[in-house]
Amino acid sequence: MDLQISFVVFALLFLGIATLSQLRAIPDTFWQHPLIFALSFMGVSGVLFFFGAVEIVGRYGVAGLIGLAAFGGIFIFSPLFIDPLRWISRSHAFATLPDLLVYRFRAPAVAKASAALLFTASLPIAAAQFSIFSSQFSDSGNSGFSDSIGLTSAVATIVAVFIYCFGAPGKSAKALPGVTAFATTIALITLLGCGYVAVQLVFGGIAELNSWAETSGQDQVILRFDSAYALILLLLPMALLLPQQGFMQTLSNWWPKHSTSSWMVPFLLLLITLSLFPVLWAGLRLPLNAPLQQYVSVLPATLGIDGLYYLSLVTMLFISASLLTVTAIALGKIVVTSYLVKPGQWRGNADLDVWLNRRCFWLSCAWLVTVCLFTTFNKSNSVTDLSITGMIGVIQLLPGMIATLYAPKINRLGFLAGLAVGSGFWLYGVVFPVCFNTSPPLLFDVHIATGSENWPFWLIESLVANLLVALSVSMATRTSDSERHHGFQCMVDNLPTPQRQSLAITSLDGIQSRLATAIGAPAARRELDAAVNTLSISLDDHRPLAMRMLRDRLCFQLSAKLGTLTADQIMDSVMPFGGGAAVDDISLLESQLASTGSVLSGLAAELNKLRLYHRHTLENLPIGVCSLDSEGEILLWNLAMTKYTGLESVNMEGANIGDLPPPWGNTLKKFCASQDISWPVHEMEDSHRGVCWYHLSKHRIEENSPVYAGYQVVLMEDITERLRLIQELAHTERLTSVGRLAAGVAHEIGNPVTGISCLAQDLLAESSDTETRKSAEIILELTQRIATIVNTLMDFSRSDSQRTLKPIVLNTALNSAIQLLKLDKGAKVVEFRVAITEDFRVRGDLHQLTQVFVNLLANARDASKEGGAIEISGEIDGQQAIVHITDWGCGIPEEFISRVMDPFFTTKDPGEGTGLGLSMVYSIMRLHKGSVRIASPVDNGRGTRITLTMNTP
């Protein structure tokens, strides 16, 4: 009844913990903790590592302990084993080991053969989980189960119920870690408890234990190393090759994130094995009438410690069921992806996930039934023998794994041939003699020892034969291009450049409708949403790079469910390439390096530093840089380009140059397509910066260049400011030449006018005729006017001033000007709003600045409406005083802006203005080493703002 009671407790706990693990109150961080991963990983390793370990150290001594430690070796040497796999897993999600091999060897036959081997080799390992109870069945009245079949069927039923309830990916991600971590925890308590009982109750203390070991000679008996290398070779790769261990590693992505896992699993193994020798020696001293593998349960029963005894039975059931559950789920998935899935099976509203879950469940059940049948015919009751038998079968996949990571020249034919030969050795020399107690027929009349005692020989022989055949066949047969390509893709330390081809489809709606034909509408919608969310791309993103990233992501997601080959086939049909030769995908390479560059080491890390430096230099160049591939896809869009165009690089890189918003798309596309190597001055107008001028130049890599033929680098420089300075300089030159001309003309006109004026004065003084006097007065008035104009021209042309510039209060000049303007009673009445404080001082000439303000304010008044306002404001900017004079009149037409400073240019009616006012202002401001700028219109098509810049004192 003991086992029956323990079974009921186990069944309740097993399903109860799985149910509790679904509680949302348990935070995700709990499940992601590396300790949970380490406990779960050990929880599915089976009874061999907990109870059978006593048998291992009993048989092989310290060599057995070394073998058990080697099981955690892949975590200690993770750079050699785990990191390369993680590196390969960047592009595809490998749900199972056969899937990884099929990705490497590119043939469904590889997946089928590997799946068949794993399915078969897992049977002895599963049978080993029940052989631990063999002594219980010898006393059937006590156990409650008549034989191993009854127990096997009962546990298999519980496992099937578990898989039905919690086997779906969404639930198993928590249920499996929950029960397996619990199994390891109670196993640790049981083993450490047994160890304590052995030391304290059997020996009376650790000193007595050591003394007994010395006097009995057991301390020398355990010093055996003859099987150490075979055990290391067998157990070291098991953490990767066993389906249940591999499944736990891919169930969640905890372990890639935590280097703590590297020491935690070996540490747990250390704790598990710590009490092996005390328990073994306690059993020998008492002595216990039971196989070594049952010492952990029989020892507390013999000493009358019922609690520990029942705990050991529940623990055995938990560990057994954990291994069976995870192996069944893993093999179900392996068989589905290797044998059943085909593209196009899920049309219409068929749900891919439901289809997969159902088949995985039934295949898991089929494997459990096979386990029950195998247990019926199995003749061995040794946990160690059965486990080693299964592991020798599994290890036949090791050459394939080595070929994946380190030997790209082994091809699929070589792998399959080696696998067939190695598996033959395994079946002949280990499986039949151990499991069915049959002597295999003699080969070539040569007797070769078989059976459990000779497993090291058959392990070495099968592996050597497997490797030699694989190498020989690979050398004798042709390796396909696809195999060679993927062989190098998987190589350790290889940084493959992603290849790019143009995609025929560029819209998300199109992708979803085509994906629906391959995997069904619900799954298509779900997968596409997940991919878009993961990549954070918008629904209207049609960039070629975004489409390629989406394709890769969808392929990644589907490969986790359907296997890599099927996922590739589906994506080839859903998002086919548009043809043409594949070229290096620089954009994807950049993004990959950006995300993975931090883990590079050695020369690769140094080169990546150099890449980052050059990238940073290009990004921050003060001129725009845009590099394009031969099809016009943007590879680089630096910060200056973003500044000029307002288009962010994250949205531009990967886009086609012609797809840019106007006016950039058309212009840049036209420039890239032209034969011109530069456009010296090109006017562009956009909403971002208005009208600007750019200098465009480009360099195209020659078509016959071996690297990146047809790629272009476009440079774009904003020359707006430079052009403005050139125009200003030209304008200044023009005004200067006009001034010189005016000075010459004034000089030539001045002398005759003086003569005319003198004669007119004489005539006025000497003539008494009224008409004559009146004419003379008119002549004098006109000559005075000519003299005024001539003096103005002379002032304008003067290149420097004899006047002394000194600090003045600007308001003084401003108020004088306003007073002078108010004297003109015939002019419009306007309001002068002065917003300049009394302490606003400039360096200048008071009279000249008064003249400036008179001219500017008079023009502003003439332009304003009756009763309008003229605003005068000022500001200090460092060493410069800036004054703004703003009116809200009709403004200056755009075509006149560049000419208003010219002498004699006026828009007023004839006789109302000389056209010299603004010329005078310009001249005076130049003498003050300042400047005049005119902006019109100011707002809503009205107003003029004149900005004077002068020096502060």
Partner: protein, 56 residues
């Protein structure tokens, strides 16, 4: 990725550390606890080596 320091360590392990460890394991005294001591040292070394290791 293939850490050259790790490769050098493996060579050192095979040629120097392993023979030394086996010699120590088989020398007279309390033998059964010694493999655990070596194992513990290995774990500590792994922890020291990998605690700041950057992973993908």
């Amino acid at each position: 990725m293939l850490n050259h320091r790790l490769s050098a360590f493996l060579v050192l392990l095979a040629c120097v550390l392993l023979p030394m460890a086996i010699h120590w394991l088989t020398s007279p005294g309390i033998n059964w606890i010694r493999p655990y001591i070596l194992w513990g040292l290995f774990i500590i070394a792994t922890w020291l080596w990998q605690r700041r290791r950057r992973v993908l």
